[in-house]
């Protein structure tokens, strides 16, 4: 537990992604099975011990620590696991004995609700405060060390010098503690056999289109949908939904899991049906409310039903189709989609453009809320992981711009910790008040950042914790992909991907845009 505890502590305080990767890779290389497998499962929040929950830990603490002192401490610390770790009495030097991560996992998973408190107490009694923190985080979840499944897989690839795409595929196929994956990583065994397992295939990704045009006889055009990219996999009688990073999100969309009953693997865009659009896809904001849930209420299922607009077929009836050209896969896809439940799955249409100008016109005229632009896919390209030059392009709708006034600024993270680099900006309403419409922290050069940082420091009129309110005098030209109506914001608007295009020192704040102008852009 000592090594695992030290790893967690380093990860908590490290903000650099590369350092995190190096720390995890080092841990994986130097820790034996099955500890390293359990550890990585704990870091990525894939462990669950039904018998060990917060309430149980609080009750257990009450047997060792005064309840009132626990309550006061919990209030100060703000986290049950950390409070309990700090309050649990230290072991006497002679009873201190490091337990392995796997021993803890074995004991906790074997425990029933009745004997879990005793089992946990037995483990806590042997550990120091850092070890107790690691144990309780492992048992309760909520690690909060900023390690996604994707990062963990990259760390594995880095540790054993294997392609991350191969790691992606085997990762979800093998349950923790992943011993066969480590054996393969260390060259002691062949790659695990994935037959009958609904495993994740790394996505094929697109480059932004930079050329003026492409030849439409080589490339097919499809709409680029503003939802979330998903892969639905059926194998061995089980259906799983994976998101971009290979994270499993099946639990958030039970209706899709239930509806997908074909032995196939599809790639598509997950969208939510919106009323305002007459049953078409709703804006990304609506979809966001369904993301990240572990359980979904009936109300939510009824109000925001999810569906998938399918655009690729990666496997069918046990055959891997990824080596086939897009054109071939497309034929099979068109024949396949009617086999799926129509209410939950439809086909993403190929845009039947006469020529490039026609496509450009259609792209410019697309007013559908869920259209982000156009995808261009090389007709003869196989489905390959990652971004490969010349195969897929995304041609986003031209971004929108608005002149806004800086209202608040906040310091950044990491390298930018000493700079006011996050800016909230607003536009004028009819009453002549500024209302915030968005927040941006990119789009400027290092030189411009220095200038902006100075501006904030010299024009601060109020401070709210880490936030500074500035004099409303600086106009920022902001560029954003789209803008949507939103009840959560006072201005009634929410921007997608806003960033700073230009600092308009020449423009008086009164001449910045009105809210009404932005409302007219909303989709």
């Amino acid at each position: 537990m000592k090594r695992f505890a030290a790893l967690i502590d380093r990860l908590i305080y490290t903000r650099s992604r590369n350092t995190k990767l190096a720390l995890i890779a080092d841990y994986l290389r130097h820790t034996p099975d099955p500890d390293r497998g359990w550890a990585i499962a704990a870091l990525t929040e894939t462990l669950d011990f039904p018998a060990v929950k917060s309430a149980m830990v609080r009750a257990l603490l009450a047997t060792r620590v005064d309840e009132e002192l626990f309550r006061l401490s919990r209030h100060f610390v703000g986290d049950t696991a950390e409070t309990a770790a700090l309050l649990w009495p230290d072991p006497k030097p002679q009873t201190r004995a490091d337990s392995s991560v796997s021993e803890a996992v074995d004991i906790l998973s074997a425990a029933t609700r009745a004997d879990a408190p005793l089992a946990l107490a037995g483990l806590l009694d042997r550990l120091d405060a850092e070890g107790r923190y690691a144990l309780l985080k492992l048992a309760l979840g909520g690690m909060r060390v900023g390690v996604s499944a994707r990062l963990a897989k990259q760390a594995f690839a880095q540790a054993f010098d294997v392609p991350v795409d191969d790691v992606e595929e085997v990762w979800h196929a093998i349950p923790p503690p992943y011993a066969p994956i480590f054996a393969w990583g260390e060259g002691r065994a062949a790659r695990p056999d994935l037959a009958d397992i609904p495993f994740f295939r790394p996505f094929m990704l697109a480059h932004p289109l930079e050329a003026e045009s492409v030849d439409l006889s080589d490339y097919a055009a499809e709409w680029k949908w503003d939802g979330i990219r998903v892969q639905i996999v059926h194998g061995g009688g089980e259906t799983r939904i994976y998101s971009r990073g290979g994270e499993e999100i099946s639990a958030a969309f039970p209706e899709l899991v239930a509806a997908f009953d074909q032995d196939a693997v599809i790639d598509g865009e997950l969208l939510v049906r919106g009323d305002a659009q007459g049953g078409e896809a709703a804006s990304f904001n609506v979809l966001q409310q369904r993301l990240g849930r572990k359980t979904v209420s009936k109300k939510m299922l009824a109000e925001s039903p999810a569906f998938v607009r399918v655009y690729d077929l990666l496997a069918l009836d046990g055959t891997d189709l990824r080596g086939l050209p897009w054109q071939e896969r497309r034929h099979r896809l068109e024949a396949f989609v009617p086999r799926l439940t129509a209410s939950h799955f439809d086909l993403s249409q190929v845009i039947d453009a006469g020529d490039w100008n026609d496509l450009a016109t259609r792209r410019a005229g697309a007013r559908d809320v869920a259209i982000e632009g156009v995808m261009l896919k090389r007709r003869d390209a196989p489905y390959v992981p990652g971004r490969r030059a010349g195969l897929w392009y995304k041609w986003k709708r031209d971004p929108l711009t608005a002149d806004c006034v800086m209202m608040y600024a906040q310091r950044g993270n990491g390298r930018r910790a000493s700079f006011y680099s996050d800016y909230t900006f607003g536009c004028w309403n009819d009453a002549g008040e500024l209302l915030p419409v968005g927040k941006a922290y990119s789009g400027f050069t290092d030189e411009e950042l220095k200038w902006l940082d100075n501006f904030v420091r010299n024009h601060t009129i109020a401070r709210f914790g880490p936030v500074r309110e500035v004099e409303k005098m600086l106009v920022l030209e902001v560029v954003f992909d789209s803008i949507h109506l939103s009840k959560r914001h006072k201005s009634g608007l929410a921007m997608r991907f806003p960033r700073i295009l230009r600092i308009r020192r020449d423009k008086p704040a009164e001449e910045a845009d009105r809210l009404a102008t932005l409302h007219a852009m909303a989709t």
């Binding site: 490290t14 006061l72 610390v77 993270n413």
Partner: protein, 339 residues
Amino acid sequence: MVRAKTTSWIEPHPQGLYVRPADLWIDPSQPVERAVVTHGHADHARSGHASVFATPETLAIMALRYGVDAGASHNAAFAYRDGFERGGVRFTFHPAGHVLGSAQIAMDHAGERIVVTGDYKRRPDPTCAPFEVVPCDIFVTEATFGLPVFRHPPTADEVAKLIAAVRAEPERCILVGAYALGKAQRVIAELRAAGWDAPIFIHGALERMCALYVEHGVELGELRLVGETEKDAMRGQIVLAPPSALNDRWSRRLPDPVTAMASGWMRVRQRARQRMVELPLVISDHADWDELTATIAEVNPKESWITHGSEEGLLRWCELNQRKARALHLVGRDLEEEA
């Protein structure tokens, strides 16, 4: 000592403790005629008092910080175990182990003894005299870390962590946030004790206080100013600055610093994260929970008065241990940065 009735000669007010027979305040937060000052931190030592009674070191610190005239006849300096009498109250200064010159104030009057600790700690500190247990009837104690989650690890372990971190990344420097009075000098002295004999680089705001410590016989070794040093010369080195400078523009002159912070608050991970600290060092000049409770048990007063910090936690401990206690709710005692 004869058991006196509940005392009425010392009065807690939000702005400090008033000793009525002597017409004198202890650590008042506003200017008064006569002030006894326990130590030089800004939440205890304020400028503007007509007369200050303190240890020579505290007066020297107040002279440096507020321009108090340490040698003037209206101020008076007392060595440890020395003191004065006024209005039938005998005042004696005893070491508190908090920072250079820090003192507990023992007061004897009408057969009763009251001890005011100011801020204190119990573990060894190479920069100041160790806390002295003074038996008394009423023990007026701080409670900055008055919750059982606060248990400071051995200082040597934390210093070893700092040295290991700087050796692990010789291309970077470690920037340690440490309060300018007390913590900074203690961290330096502890580094020296652990064998770190390279120059230590300091922020300009620490310079004069470090010099004052050296004048009072505390060995700090070679110190250099960051402002007078090339960036590359600080690679693989330790830099000290006040906590407010950690994420400020000043830090841009350092070679890719790892941000560290020396404070008892670093015990709580989310606190350290909020401060964007990468290397938390649990080094405090305040008593931790075990020190607070052990001190009350050792002093064994008839009653404990708790001045500032997590009063509720320490009150609860007193209740559980059948010890009489009350909270005083003094204002302005919240030097978060200094703990």
